[in-house]
Amino acid sequence: MSLQGCAGYAPHMAQASPRAPSSIRRVLTHVVLIIACVVVLYPVLWVLKMALTPGQAFSLDPNPLPTVISFANFWDVVSASEGGTWLFGRQLFNSIVVATITSAIGIGLSCTAAYAMSRFSFPGRESGMRLFLVTQMFPGVVMLIPLYILLDELGLLDSLMGLSLVYATTAVPFCTWNLKGYFDTIPRELEEAAIMDGASRWTVFTKVILPLARPALAVTGLFSFMTAWNEFIMAMTLLSDQRAFTLPVVLHGYIGDHGTDWGHFAAGAIIVSIPVMALFFALQKQLVEGLTAGGVKG
């Protein structure tokens, strides 16, 4: 496709500032975004309200602003400890470890696979791509027990590594597909030039392609992280030690068979979402600075 070459050949043009929009368009854009934010924030404020209101009741009151402010629920959640171990700190650490390893393995496995699928035309490529997609279609309901037995046989039960591996393999299909889609838009001429200069495939991949694919890497990184961060049932089934639990297991511990500690759950939900927001904030720059922002130096 000839258009794809343009980005590579005219990076300076891509940086040219777009024409200033009319003020009506500016205002309209803000109005739309503010409406979207209000719709998004309304239920979120409710979570915050339940977290800040003392007690464990669920609020149905249409007013999402708290009338009393107390940090007791946050304190209860954060201060959980057992036998001298600061349990919450330990579990937060576990969650971060699992999500980080998942992202590392997920991106590691999928970026190489996606590169091969984007750049080489080898026998079995199409079936392989399809197989990745097909694995997403397996309903989890029948997989839990066989997976438990398998991990037990592999000695991976009760280990954060085992859990991360399971998460990574569930994140790989999307990551591979997404990266492959992005790699396809990166002009081949760049690599060919580097190879002509004597660079190896691996060097081209790590020094040319990956830096250009930062937006897609940011998307897949966030996705893999989220796959691990909020997952509950696998973590609950595969781990059997309070000190090894990840935060979703702790959070679900506030849900009873009948009653739920809504105050604690809401406070925990807010705490759990903060690292995700922080990560997204940190990734934003990568996400919006791709080819158009002058990533192409070749």
């Binding site: 777009p18 309903p139 029948v142 790989v172 059997s240």
Partner: protein, 712 residues
């Protein structure tokens, strides 16, 4: 060595050996947990040669974890669970009996924990519904149902006489029993269609119509109304104590009599027992620990500190317990309860009961027809398993297919051998991901899918060939046009997937297009705010959405009311229930598509769009003919995978509409879950559903193949 020497040697070895570990799993929280763990710690310190390892788990997934872990030798020695589990667990060998239980335990509680004449646990606590009353609104608790109905006249405007989650069969049970009905008949068979059951339904429907009980009340609404003084009475269990506001002046009393029959409104009784695992490694110290936990001393502690209604007779006489007004009310209720039957069939009755109850309460069916329909539904979900099939033809066929497949693959590889050799690098790049997936995703699914050829019923697994598939596809269980048939559910699932993906992608792409404009101030702030729905655990936000759709008190109807719209009963029609699910899932799902689009947009050079703008193309034309085609390669995988995920998105259906009305808003995967968990653990049937879901998605992926691979 003399015998004396041997004994001395054994004693030394015993003293030096590591203490044996007893593992105990429970799902308690709050004060119940504290009291239990205090008692265990004290015992642990006294018993030098035993070390107790306690694991607190969330109730959700507790049984699945136990069922997976115990047979593999990874389970606990002791676990605390409701007596309803005893029937199913003991018949698969997951539990071991208590031959000589300590004396002085409440006979009703012991009986509940007994199955086939064997006692499988020691009773820790009994739990049942009771009557909570607001002392500022009613002086004394009503003793008959007529007194409840009569309250209406004395209460201030806007105060309901009684708040109860009337649509839940567990909360309806007191009336069912009070009218003389029940789930089982005198001969021990399930009989949901007893005329007394219809009479109870008639009574509750009338109380909702006359405003005694609020309409569409969930547990959450009951708490809210009672806490705000807008309900004089509430029917709830001991867990409610933790939710009642500190400022409320309330009392607890046994449930009233049903005036029409003079019988007590008897709630179901749940006995929480400490059960001994059939795979326990240390059964002897485990039994001792169990006996200790039901001793008088520990039971008084659990009652006083843990606020548990204990089942140890001596503890019930102890002044700390006997003089406690709240524990006293639970104790008084104990004599008028019906222990939930612990036979496995009981677990399959909840779903038909719930459907019947909801049909009557929303006025869709008469009580007589509803109970008859419930009995029919029960018969369907507990239908006898298909006859065993001869596995030989299947094995032969599978063998032939395997040989054919391997030969075909080998020939392909052989024909392409030179090409394969050329692309060694490519294979090296793909291999790690491929192997990981094959091992951890494909293998477990293949094993799980194999279960679809078996029937697991009454804990026996028999090979039935393709009979499960035949039953589902030939609509032998539910008629084709009924809400739970495979075909109706498939149609709803397709509609659900298409609507969701369209909205997710539409909103996600639109917002991403706005958010990339460099001149936009605050775009960093907007971006972070707009991914919030993805970041917050959806369990709580989904339930907030469900709350917003509540008929009388929900925010959505309040907003619609501003425009003069009558309150909508969202979950009583398919279209509105579907819309509620869709709104929730769209709110949760668009941020992902927005993030993917933001990333994909970076690959598109802006100068192309600017060139188009110079040529006079309108905004829409630029998007349609320049941006979108360039966006597609990176966006399509997200669209295809997004639709696959949405197809199997059970959480939202389960949390928001719960399949209401009458199963119409269920999707295929929720049927698989129901067969696995709500309908007597028929895993074979559930696996067949899962395989069919997979098959449907496979067809879908074939159809999308051309978009996906054709472009590259």
């Amino acid at each position: 060595m003399t015998s004396v020497g041997a004994v001395a040697w054994l004693m030394v070895a015993g003293a030096m050996a590591q203490p044996v570990e007893v593992h105990l799993w429970h799902a308690y929280r709050g004060e119940e947990r504290t009291a239990l763990e205090t008692a265990i710690e004290a015992w642990d310190e006294a018993e030098v040669d035993v070390s107790v390892q306690v694991l607190a788990l969330p109730p959700e997934g507790f049984s699945t974890k136990f069922e997976a872990a115990a047979p593999r030798g990874n389970g606990p020695d002791l676990l605390i669970a409701a007596h309803e589990r005893v029937g199913a667990w003991s018949s698969t060998g997951l539990l071991a009996g208590f031959e000589a239980p300590p004396s002085g335990l409440h006979p009703t509680a012991l009986e509940a924990l007994t199955y086939n004449d064997t006692l499988y646990g020691l009773p820790l606590a009994t739990k049942s519904l009771v009557l909570f009353y607001n002392r500022d609104l009613v002086a004394a608790p009503p003793t008959t149902t007529d007194e409840i109905a009569a309250l209406a006249g004395d209460l201030p405007q806007g105060v309901y006489p009684m708040a109860v989650a009337a649509t839940e069969p567990f909360f309806h049970a007191p009336w069912m029993h009070g009218f003389g009905g029940g789930v089982f008949n005198d001969t021990g068979d399930v009989a949901l269609d007893q005329p007394q059951n219809a009479a109870a339904l008639t009574w509750v429907k009338a109380r909702i119509d006359d405003g005694t009980i609020p309409d569409e009340a969930t547990g959450v609404l009951v708490t809210q109304l009672f806490n705000e003084g807008r309900a004089a009475l509430a029917i709830n269990g001991p867990w409610f104590l933790g939710e009642i506001s500190d400022q409320l002046n309330f009392g607890v009393a046994p449930l009233p009599q049903v005036a029409a029959t003079g019988k007590a409104a008897a709630p179901f009784l749940t006995v929480e027992g400490i059960l001994l695992s059939g795979h326990a490694r240390q059964p002897e110290p485990a039994r001792r620990l169990a006996a200790h936990l039901v001793s008088e001393e520990v039971s008084v502690l659990r009652g006083r500190e843990g606020r548990q209604s204990v089942a140890t007779l001596a503890a019930l006489e102890h002044p700390d317990i006997a003089n406690d007004p709240i524990l006293g009310a639970f104790r008084a209720q104990l004599d008028d309860t019906v222990p939930t039957p612990n036979v496995p069939a009981m677990s399959s009755t909840w779903e038909p009961q719930a459907r019947a109850l909801r049909r009557v309460l929303r006025g869709a069916q008469s009580p007589d027809d509803a109970v008859r329909a419930a009995q029919q539904e029960f018969a369907i979900v507990t239908a006898p398993p298909p006859p065993p099939a001869n596995p030989l033809p299947y094995l032969a066929l599978a063998g032939l297919l395997a040989i054919a497949g391997v030969t075909l693959l080998a020939r392909r590889i052989w024909n392409a051998r030179s090409e394969i050799a050329q692309h060694r690098t490519a294979y090296a790049y793909v291999a790690p991901a491929f192997l990981g997936m094959a091992l951890l995703v494909v293998a477990p699914f293949a094993v799980g899918a194999g279960m679809s050829l078996f029937s697991y019923q009454h804990n026996e697994s028999t090979f039935v060939g393709l009979a499960n598939f035949a039953n589902i596809l030939l609509a032998r269980d539910w008629p084709v046009f009924s809400p739970l048939s495979f075909y109706t559910t498939l149609a709803v699932t397709i509609l659900w997937t298409a609507a969701n993906v369209t909205l997710h992608v539409g909103i996600g792409v639109a917002l991403a297009m706005l958010l990339r404009e460099p001149w936009l101030k605050l775009r960093g702030v907007y971006r972070v705010l707009l991914i919030l729905p993805w970041a917050i655990p959806n369990y709580i936000t989904a339930l907030i959405w469900k709350g917003m759709f509540q008929k009388q008190f929900g925010a959505i109807n309040a907003i619609l009311g501003l425009f003069g719209v009558e309150p909508v009963s969202w979950f009583s029609q398919f279209t509105t229930a579907f819309a509620a699910n869709l709104a929730t899932n769209t709110w949760l799902g668009f941020p992902f598509m927005m993030v993917v689009t933001l990333g994909a947009l970076q690959a598109i050079p802006r100068d192309l769009e600017q060139a188009a703008e110079v040529d006079g193309a309108s905004g829409w034309q630029r998007f349609r003919h320049v941006t979108l085609p360039l966006l597609m390669p990176a966006l399509l995988p997200a669209v295809v995978l997004g639709s696959v995920w949405t197809f199997n998105m059970i959480n939202i259906i389960y949390l928001v509409s719960g399949g209401e009305p009458d199963g119409w808003s269920e999707i295929l995967i929720s049927e698989a879950y129901r067969w696995a968990f709500d309908r007597n653990h028929r895993y074979g049937y559930a696996a067949a559903y899962a395989v069919l879901v997979f098959g449907v998605l496979l067809v879908y992926s074939r159809a999308t193949d051309r978009w996906l691979t054709g472009k590259s």
